[in-house]
Amino acid sequence: MNAIAAIEPAHASAQRLRERAFHGATFVAALLVLGLLGGVAFALLIGAWPALGHFKLGFLTSQVWNPVTERFGALAPIYGTLVTSFLALLLAIPVSFGIAIFLTEMAPVWLKRPIGVAIELLAAVPSIIYGIWGLFVLAPVLQRHVQPWLIEWLGPLPLIGHLFQGPPYGIGILTASFVLSIMVIPFISAVMRDVFETVPDVLKESGYGLGATTWEVIWQVVVPYARTGIIGGVMLGLGRALGETMAVTFVIGNAHRIGSSLLAPGTTISAAIANEFAEAVGDLYTSALIALGALLFLITFTVIAAARLMLMRLGRKALSNV
């Protein structure tokens, strides 16, 4: 019945109409994203304009943040955002890599599922929980056991020594980076695991067949094959680290200062906004906070664009190698 009805002209035109309506609906949905993004960028720019126009380039180069005299500079939050995210990735990438390799190449079958589920659960923990844990559990441990050790043994070293000097407060840039790294590990390792699993068994088996060790197969077959996916996972983690607010606010020490030590308190863009927006009085103050938001938007955008560019280059290189 249906098969016959499908070729009736009236029905066919109805079907075409449906197709077109569906096409239109999905197109509108896709456009909506662009519209929203444009709207956000526009609103941020409008809101940030009074502060940017008032402080000009000084907004980017000054670390003064004084609501009383209404002088604002974003250098300290920019520095804090970049440094905590960089350190978080530095700590998270090797661990995530290890987790993903173990899960795909080495783990016995019965262990794969529990660890996989545990990672997914870690990704679902709300950030405020990480913040509270960082403040009440991690910070005292770092303060009593880890930081005194760092200060004593790494503090006197040349070159990197100044990164580990000052009083052990327990909270600060280093603690924030540590909490962030724990928060991004599930994201990075989950993506890495998925891309490692896409490596065809034939490739790996031919590696083993040529007498390669597991180590050699991983470094010379799996990693090169999954390179773009690895970078994608890292960028996903970086995106999360750059914008993370609540957990960082709890453990970073919230000081608009750039300390030479990683143990010193600092602040990030999102932490500053979360701390101060609710009680910000005065147009310039509010505008300066929105300008911070616009800067974060710009930084995230740059990071994503850079990642895309890198992936494109890698893709081209892979093609030319073939």
């Binding site: 004084n66 609501p67 327990g170 909270i171 020490g253 919230n254 308190p265 101060e276 910000a280």
Partner: protein
């Protein structure tokens, strides 16, 4: 199972009915987070008696001021009073509603709650980074009988914008000219030293876990967590401990009669018993309200709270306004708010 379902359904129905009923008469307000616990406790009791509820969004003083200026709420609440000029420009009437105090807390080995005595200039120098050790002669001078260690002082401050910050920095500004010149008073200030913790709970936690720390929290918080608070020297040169009496003394000794728009900050008030870091939380309503009935309902609630709310306030460690001040506020309502039914 079916019983559970039925129960849930009826609970939902009740919620819907309550919501529909509430819509007609609810009082809407927004602002300061500091008085939120007492406002909601009053609102609960008031609703039981009158059926009129309060929808108060504790979004912060800055948000409260913005919302009342945008006329999206009937009243705004702020921990930082608006200037008389600002009130006149916007047509707002301001009055204090409840009093609270800020208490310095310390974590120094061997020092119990109430044992240490500090004064404004000393605390200001600690937060400026000029006094860095607990055995500094300037602290010793105030505490001749205490054995003070040579521990480094770790100043802890509130990182989120708050009325607590405003009162504390205002107190230090009044007490020590250098603090006023270099830092000043606001809901957020640029602290030259120390670390910022979020909220009362953050400051309390950082202070208890850091050896040699000093911080400042709302009185209720220090009391309920049994923190090592300090005594202070007030502007009359007398030593006072933080409690309801010393907060109320500060409010009673303040010169409200001559404060236009009740613009008065209760730090460093005269009087031998006045706690020097006391503050009032303020309410803002329109002098010619766009919806007189709604503003009238709000004032009726505040009037009820003045009459019946003192016990509830004391339970939560807030301090009710002195009677003379309440009389003055009622008079302000009568003379400055137009078109509102008499209470």
């Amino acid at each position: 199972m079916s019983l559970f379902g039925a129960k849930r359904w009826s609970a939902g129905a009740i919620a819907v009915i309550a919501f529909a009923g509430a819509q007609a008469a609810d009082i809407s307000g927004a602002g300061a987070t500091f008085p939120y616990p007492i406002y909601s406790k009053w609102a609960d009791a008031y609703k039981q008696q009158t059926g009129i509820g309060l929808n108060y969004q504790s979004i912060g003083s800055g948000g409260g001021i913005k919302q009342i200026k945008a006329k999206t709420v009937t009243f705004g609440a702020s921990d930082m009073p608006l200037e008389e000029k600002d009130l006149q420009e916007s047509g707002l009437v301001q009055f204090p509603m409840i009093i609270g105090g800020v208490v310095p807390v310390v974590n120094v080995k061997g020092v119990q709650g109430g044992q240490m005595v500090l004064d404004g200039p000393t605390i200001a120098q600690i937060y400026l980074g000029d006094i860095t050790k607990w055995n500094d002669p300037r602290i010793k001078k105030l505490n001749p009988s205490l054995a003070l260690p040579a521990t480094a002082i770790a100043p802890i401050y509130r990182s989120d914008g708050s009325g607590t910050n405003f009162l504390f920095s205002n107190f230090l500004s009044n007490a020590y000219p250098k603090f006023k010149e270099t830092i000043g008073a606001s809901t957020s200030v640029q602290w030259p030293v120390g670390i910022g913790a979020k909220g009362n709970e953050g400051v309390a936690n950082m202070t208890t876990q850091t050896d040699g720390a000093i911080g400042y929290v709302e009185y209720a918080y220090a009391k309920q967590n049994k923190m090592a608070y300090t005594a202070l020297i007030n502007s009359a040169g007398k030593q006072v401990t933080p409690d309801a009496q010393s907060f109320q003394a500060a409010a009673a000794n303040a010169d409200w009669a001559h404060a236009a728009g009740y613009h008065l900050i209760l730090t460093n008030q005269p009087g031998e018993k006045s706690w020097p870091i006391t503050g009032a939380s303020f309410i803002l309503v329109y002098g010619s309200p766009p919806d007189p009935a709604a503003t009238g309902a709000a004032l009726k609630f505040f009037d009820w709270a003045f009459k019946n709310g003192a016990k509830m306030a004391a339970d939560l460690d807030y301090v009710p306004l002195p009677d003379s001040l309440v009389a003055q506020i009622r008079n302000t309502w009568k003379t400055q708010i137009k078109g509102v039914p008499a209470i």
